[in-house]
C-alpha cells in the first residue's frame, strides 16, 4: 500500500476545499446546474435517477483496512448502508445528498482517499493487476507505475479537458487481469532480453457503442521514458480527437480513422520533441516503490496441514479453495478471491458490515492489503494457507464465500435501469436470474470458466462486448429486449463478441444462456473452455439451439 506523504495529503485537502466552495456557490444559487455539472463530475458526483451518486476512486484497486472501514462508515452514515464496486475498481454510493458531499470528501481525505477525476473528460482512475505484489507471474510491480500515473494525471494542466474520458490500465503479467486491450491506453510491462524494463504500449481500445481492441503502437518503450510518451499520446489526442460528436470522441475513433501506423508515427514525432525532463527521475520512482510498505513473508512449508485437513473434512471449504484461492508467489501463502456475486445478489454490491468483515480479515490475516478487481470482486492478496479456513469461515458468516470465481454466476453487470438514467433495460435482475439458473454449484463447476457480462444500454458499462457471453439491453417500443453476443474476451486474447441473432425478450434471456451452456457442454472437446469451443465451432450451433425454441 502506497503511503501518502504531506504533499499528497495537501493535494487532497486543497481539492476538497475547492469543491466545498463550488458546492456552496451552487447551493447559494451563484452557479447554475449547467455551470456546476462539469465541476461536480470532476469530483465523481453524478445526478442519477433518484439522487446524487458519488464515485470514489480506488486507485489501481488498492485499499487498506482503515480505508475500507471508512467506506463502510460513509455508507452507513450518508447512504443506505451499502456501496457498489465498479468495473473501474471504484466504489459508488447511489443515495448521496449534495449538501453532504463536501463533508464526505473530507472524511475520504482523512484516510488518503478522494473522488478526483472519477468522471468527466479527463484521465480517470488508473487500474492495475489485482494480484500485483502477490503473483509469481509478474515482471515488475505494476502498482509502482500506476501510482506514478495517478500523480501525473491528477489535475494535469494540459489534459484535463480532453475530447472524452480516458482510461489507462497497467499490467505486468502474461495473463491479463486488467482488460488492458479495452483501455484507451493499456501498458504491459516487459523485460527486454538484456533485462531492461519497458512497456508494450497499446492504444485505442474501448467498448461503448463502437467496440475496438487496443492496438500496439510500440512494442518496447524504455520504462523511464513513460511519462514523456504518455504526454505525446495525450497531446496528439487532445489536439486531434473529435469534439463535434460525443460518440466519436474517444481515442479509439482517432486511432481507427488515422490507422494504427499513422497514429503511431504522429505520437513518435511529438515524442521526439518533448523534453525528457517530463519523465520521472529514477529517485522518485524509487521513492514510490519504497512507499509501498514492503511485505514480510514467513518461511513456510509449501503444504499446510491445517489447510489440507479442512479440505478433507469440509467439502464446502474444498469447493471454495478450488475456485477462489489462487497461487501466491511465496510458499505457504495464497491469494483469496472474495466473490461479490452471491446468487441472487446485485453484482458488485457490498454492505457496510461485509466491508468491515473484509477489513478485519485483511488486518488480521492479510497484511492489511485489499484489492478491488475490474470484475467487481475483492481480493485478499496475501493470506497464509494455514489461515485460509478461518478466513473462509468469517467470509461465509456474511455471505461472502460464494465459490464461483470465473464461473457462470460471476457476472459483471452495470447498474442498469434500476439506477441509471441512461439505461434502456435492467441488468441486475437479468444477472440474478442467470445466477439462479446455475445455483447448482456442481453444474457450474462442470461448465467451468465462463464470463457473462451485461450492459443495460449501448454505453457498455457492463463490458458486454468482451463477455464470453455478452448481453446488451435495448429498448424496443418501450419493452426491454436483449441482444446476445458470444466469444468476446477482455483478457490477453481480447476479442469483440459475435452477435447471436435477433434480440430476446426479458423473460427469455436466462433460458437462452442455459441453452447456450448446454450446447457448449455437448460440443466441448477435451475440457475446452467455453471460449475455445466457440472459437472452434463458430456461432452456428448456438444460434440454432437458441432460436430452435422460438419456432
Amino acid at each position: 500500500m502506497y503511503r501518502y506523504d504531506d504533499i499528497d495529503r495537501d493535494m487532497l485537502a486543497d481539492r476538497s476545499a475547492e469543491f466545498r466552495g463550488q458546492v456552496a456557490r451552487r447551493l447559494a444559487g451563484e452557479l447554475s446546474e449547467d455551470q456546476f455539472k462539469p465541476l461536480r463530475l470532476r469530483n465523481g458526483l453524478y445526478l442519477q435517477l433518484h439522487a446524487y451518486m458519488l464515485r470514489i476512486a480506488v486507485p489501481y484497486g488498492s485499499l487498506n483496512s482503515r480505508q475500507l472501514r471508512k467506506l463502510a462508515w460513509i455508507g452507513r452514515t450518508y447512504d443506505k448502508g451499502y456501496g457498489h464496486f465498479t468495473t473501474r475498481t471504484n466504489l459508488q454510493f447511489h443515495w448521496i445528498k449534495l449538501a453532504d458531499a463536501p463533508d464526505i470528501m473530507d472524511h475520504l481525505a482523512s484516510v488518503d482517499m478522494h473522488a478526483i477525476q472519477t468522471s468527466g473528460n479527463c484521465i480517470r482512475n488508473v487500474t492495475a493487476d489485482p494480484y500485483a505484489g502477490a503473483t509469481a507471474e509478474e515482471i515488475d510491480d505494476p502498482r509502482v507505475w500506476a501510482e506514478a500515473i495517478r500523480q501525473w494525471s491528477t489535475v494535469h494542466p494540459e489534459f484535463s479537458y480532453l475530447p472524452r474520458k480516458f482510461k489507462i490500465a497497467v499490467t505486468a503479467a502474461a495473463k491479463d487481469r486488467t482488460a488492458a486491450k479495452t483501455h484507451d491506453i493499456g501498458l504491459n510491462l516487459k523485460r527486454a532480453r538484456d533485462g531492461v524494463l519497458g512497456f508494450e504500449v497499446m492504444v485505442g481500445g474501448g467498448l461503448g457503442r463502437m467496440p475496438y481492441i487496443g492496438q500496439t503502437i510500440r512494442r518496447f518503450l524504455p520504462a523511464p521514458r513513460l511519462f514523456s510518451y504518455l504526454e505525446a499520446i495525450l497531446r496528439v489526442y487532445n489536439r486531434h480527437g473529435r469534439r463535434d460528436n460525443i460518440h466519436k470522441a474517444r481515442i479509439k475513433v482517432l486511432v481507427a480513422s488515422l490507422g494504427r501506423d499513422e497514429f503511431a508515427s504522429q505520437v513518435e514525432a511529438e515524442w521526439e520533441k518533448i523534453s525528457s525532463e517530463v519523465d520521472l527521475p529514477d529517485t522518485e520512482l524509487a521513492r514510490i516503490r519504497g512507499a509501498f510498505a514492503p511485505k514480510t513473508f514467513e518461511t513456510l512449508p509449501a503444504v499446510s496441514e491445517a489447510f489440507e485437513a479442512t479440505k478433507v473434512s469440509t467439502p464446502a471449504f474444498a469447493r471454495f479453495a478450488r475456485n477462489n484461492l489462487k497461487p501466491h508467489k511465496v510458499a505457504g501463502y495464497t491469494i483469496v478471491e472474495i466473490s461479490l456475486k452471491a446468487i441472487g445478489a446485485t453484482p458488485g454490491d457490498a454492505t457496510a458490515e461485509q466491508m468491515e468483515v473484509v477489513a478485519d480479515l485483511a488486518e488480521r490475516y492479510g497484511q492489511d492489503d485489499i484489492r478491488v478487481t475490474h470484475e467487481q470482486n475483492l481480493v485478499l492478496p496475501h493470506v497464509k494457507l494455514d489461515d485460509a479456513p478461518a478466513v473462509w469461515t468469517a467470509l461465509a458468516g456474511v455471505g461472502l464465500a460464494t465459490p464461483n470465481m470465473n464461473l457462470v454466476s460471476d457476472i459483471i453487470a452495470c447498474p442498469g435501469l434500476d439506477y441509471c438514467a441512461l439505461a434502456n433495460a435492467r441488468a441486475i435482475s437479468v444477472a440474478q436470474h442467470i445466477a439462479e439458473k446455475f445455483a447448482d454449484q456442481d453444474r457450474a463447476e462442470r461448465v467451468g470458466e465462463l464470463k457473462v457480462k451485461i450492459s443495460g444500454c449501448i454505453n457498455a458499462c457492463g463490458h458486454h462486448h468482451v463477455g464470453h457471453i455478452g448481453i446488451l439491453g435495448v429498448d424496443k417500443k418501450g419493452e426491454e429486449f436483449y441482444q446476445l453476443t458470444l466469444g468476446g474476451s477482455g483478457a490477453e486474447d481480447a476479442a469483440v463478441g459475435t452477435a447471436l441473432g435477433p434480440a430476446l425478450p426479458y423473460e427469455r434471456v436466462a433460458d437462452a444462456v442455459d441453452t447456450i451452456v448446454e450446447t457448449y457442454l455437448r460440443e466441448r472437446q477435451d475440457g475446452e473452455r467455453f471460449l475455445d469451443t466457440f472459437r472452434r465451432t463458430g456461432v452456428a450451433p448456438f444460434k440454432e439451439a437458441v432460436y430452435a425454441d422460438v419456432h
Binding site: 493535494m11 473528460n121 489535475v155 497531446r235 527521475p281
Partner: protein, 166 residues
C-alpha cells in the same frame, strides 16, 4: 477602454486593453488590433508595416504551427475557448511557449471561467478575458488553490517529485 486580467511577473492585475478585436466582416480600425488567422495571413504584413501591434486570434480547430514563422512579429496570440470543455488551447499555449519560444502575450478568450484559471496559468497563458464576471481576486485565489503540483509544465513550478528531492 475594455479591460482584461493580466498576469505579469506572478502578479495579477486589471489591465486596459490597447487592442481592438476585429471580426472578419469588419473594417480594420486604427491602432493595435487582434485579427483572425486567415486575415493575418492575407493582411498581416501590410498591417505590421504600418507600425502597429498586431495580435492573432486562433480558433480551437486551427493549427498553432501555422503561426510559427510569424511569431516574432506577433504581439498577442488570443486562443479561443469556444466552450469551457474544449481543451485544445491548453496544448497550443504550451507549444507556443515551450516549442516556439513565444514571449508575447497569450490570451484566453471565449468561454473563459475562473475554474480554468489554474490550468491556464500552468500552460503559459498570461492574459484572460473572463466570461463569468470573475474578478482579479477570484483569479488570484484560483491560482493559489493548489500548494503543490505533480507535473512539470510551462509555468516552471517545481513538481512534487522535485520538492521531495530537495
Amino acid at each position: 477602454m475594455p479591460t482584461f486580467i493580466s498576469l505579469k511577473d506572478g502578479v495579477f492585475g486589471l489591465a486596459e486593453d490597447p487592442f481592438t478585436s476585429v471580426g472578419d466582416d469588419q473594417g480594420v480600425p486604427p491602432g493595435d488590433v487582434i485579427i483572425s488567422l486567415s486575415r493575418f495571413q492575407a493582411e498581416g504584413e501590410a498591417l505590421l508595416s504600418q507600425g502597429r501591434a498586431v495580435g492573432v486570434r486562433l480558433e480551437s480547430h486551427e493549427e498553432v504551427e501555422a503561426l510559427a514563422y510569424d511569431l516574432p512579429e506577433i504581439s498577442v496570440v488570443a486562443l479561443a475557448f469556444p466552450k469551457f470543455g474544449d481543451g485544445r488551447a491548453y496544448s497550443y499555449a504550451r507549444l507556443l511557449r515551450e516549442r516556439f519560444g513565444f514571449k508575447g502575450e497569450v490570451r484566453a478568450v471565449g468561454d473563459v471561467l475562473r475554474e480554468q484559471a489554474g490550468f491556464m496559468i500552468r500552460c503559459g497563458f498570461d492574459a484572460f478575458e473572463p466570461a463569468d464576471g470573475s474578478t482579479v481576486e477570484d483569479w488570484e485565489r484560483a491560482a493559489r488553490r493548489f500548494r503543490h503540483v505533480y507535473q512539470r509544465s510551462t509555468d516552471g513550478r517545481a513538481p512534487a517529485f522535485v520538492e521531495r528531492g530537495g
